[in-house]
């Protein structure tokens, strides 16, 4: 039997045809079509006669109890914000921080800064970087040189960053590129995971404790931006520490 008659006859059997004339004619003249029609109607009747399925009261109570037990054991509010939105916050924070580093490198340290474009392209060698480089950013971190206060408005964040580092090529990277970068990196650079570790413990666990915390930014959740300057390549490497100790190498 061809598919067209099956569609036609099956639709006739379940009553979904608006014009039944052709199907009726087929059933009257074609034995094969009539057999198909009878089979379809019989199965529809069998399935329609199936009683409704419900959980018992005890099963419902267990479901609710188990579900809330499971949800209570999850990190607080972790599910409240979609991952892409969380990453966009991270990218916004990163963008501002890169701007801050640009300012630090060009202003505070008298030039010689690597551009953020170089920064995001850097992908090698951060593990071997010696701890002596830590003081490079120590003043900025401990002395209150924090990034501008962030809002969840990423456009505003990008604008603020551009203003902070006027004239620097490093500050003109499109925001979407940074977000894509962070997103792509997250897939293969999550190097530690724990539900109850604090940021410091996370950094120690993954060997990043000699890196300098540039800023801690709290949007809907807290993110730690960790950066260091690689003495060999004269570049900054950046990590983002997410809640639950997910450490992401950004660039």
């Amino acid at each position: 039997m061809h598919e067209h008659p099956l569609d036609l006859i099956a639709a006739f059997a379940d009553g979904s045809l608006s014009d039944e004339a052709e199907a009726r004619a087929l059933i009257e003249t074609c034995q094969e079509c009539r057999a198909e029609y009878l089979a379809q109607t019989e199965v529809i009747a069998w399935l329609a006669a199936a009683p409704a399925v419900e959980m018992t009261d005890l099963e419902k109570a267990s479901l609710h109890r188990d579900l809330w037990t499971e949800l209570r054991n999850e990190p607080a509010r972790r599910s409240a914000t979609p991952w892409w939105q969380r990453l966009s916050y991270v990218a916004a924070g990163l963008f501002v921080t890169i701007g801050l580093v640009g300012v630090l490198n060009s202003g505070v340290l008298g030039g010689g800064a690597e551009s953020a474009a170089t920064t995001t392209a850097a992908a090698q060698g951060f593990d071997e970087a010696p701890a002596e480089e830590v003081p490079f950013f120590a003043e900025g971190s401990d002395g209150g040189e924090s990034a501008p206060e962030m809002t969840t408005d990423t456009t505003a964040a990008a604008t603020a960053t551009t203003a902070a580092g006027a004239g620097e090529d490093s500050l003109t990277l499109p925001f979407a590129e940074l977000a894509d970068e962070a997103r792509a990196r997250q897939n293969d650079r999550v190097v530690a995971e724990s539900t109850d570790a604090d940021f410091e413990e996370c950094l120690t666990r993954v060997g990043l404790d000699d890196h300098v915390v540039v800023d801690e930014i709290d949007f809907e959740q807290t993110y730690l931006l960790v950066m260091r300057k690689d003495p060999e390549a004269e570049r900054v490497v950046t990590f983002v520490v997410l809640p639950a100790c997910e450490v992401v190498y950004v660039g």
Partner: protein, 182 residues
């Protein structure tokens, strides 16, 4: 009766951690979610597990609901995907089949299972259908959903749903002894 607009509002409250709102969403859909799981998986314990997994996903992803479909359609799509995942896991690890027993402290479950059971031969025939056909038949003919709704839940065109339902019924009839010439 649940009004779709109110349901979307409930989900918004779920995103902000409103437990009562989530309980309300569950009350509205738990029986049908369980029914779909039971018809697809064919086992009460597995269906209960899949129901729990479904609502965990609903809670976790409530913020991703964009209102392009009814909340129910979105939830049943998660339901079907959860069942797919469970079937895939079972295929990968056939030796780790889930317990096939009922809670001994819940005699009502056995009674419910018996009263809701399909005729055994239909249940066997349904279990023998290819997964795509079975899901389409379960949602359409057992759960009484419209073809457009089934198409949205399964993420396929309506024509594909029709084809799966019609062919699924044909296979069911064939399994049940009504031979149809191909």
């Amino acid at each position: 009766m649940t009004v779709p607009g109110n349901e979307a509002e409930l989900l918004t409250r779920v995103v902000s951690g409103d437990r009562e709102a989530f309980d309300a969403v569950m009350r509205n859909h738990q029986d049908r979610v369980f029914s779909v799981c039971l018809r697809i998986l064919g086992d009460r314990e597995k269906a209960l597990d899949a129901t729990q997994d479904t609502f965990l996903t609903v809670f976790r992803k409530a913020g991703q609901f964009q209102g392009r479909s009814a909340v129910g359609t979105w939830i049943y799509r998660i339901t079907v995907n959860t069942c797919y995942d469970q079937l895939r896991r079972a295929q990968r690890r056939p030796s780790e089949s889930l317990p096939d027993h009922l809670d001994p402290s819940d005699p009502a479950a056995e009674e419910a299972m018996e009263s809701a059971a399909l005729r055994p031969e239909i249940e066997v025939a349904l279990a023998q259908l290819p997964g795509d056909f079975r899901n389409a038949v379960v949602l359409s003919d057992l759960e009484g959903m419209s073809l457009p709704e089934v198409a949205e839940i399964l993420g396929v065109p309506i024509g594909t749903v029709k084809s799966r339902v019609f062919r699924g019924r044909r296979l069911l009839a064939k399994h049940l002894g009504n031979q149809i010439d191909q």
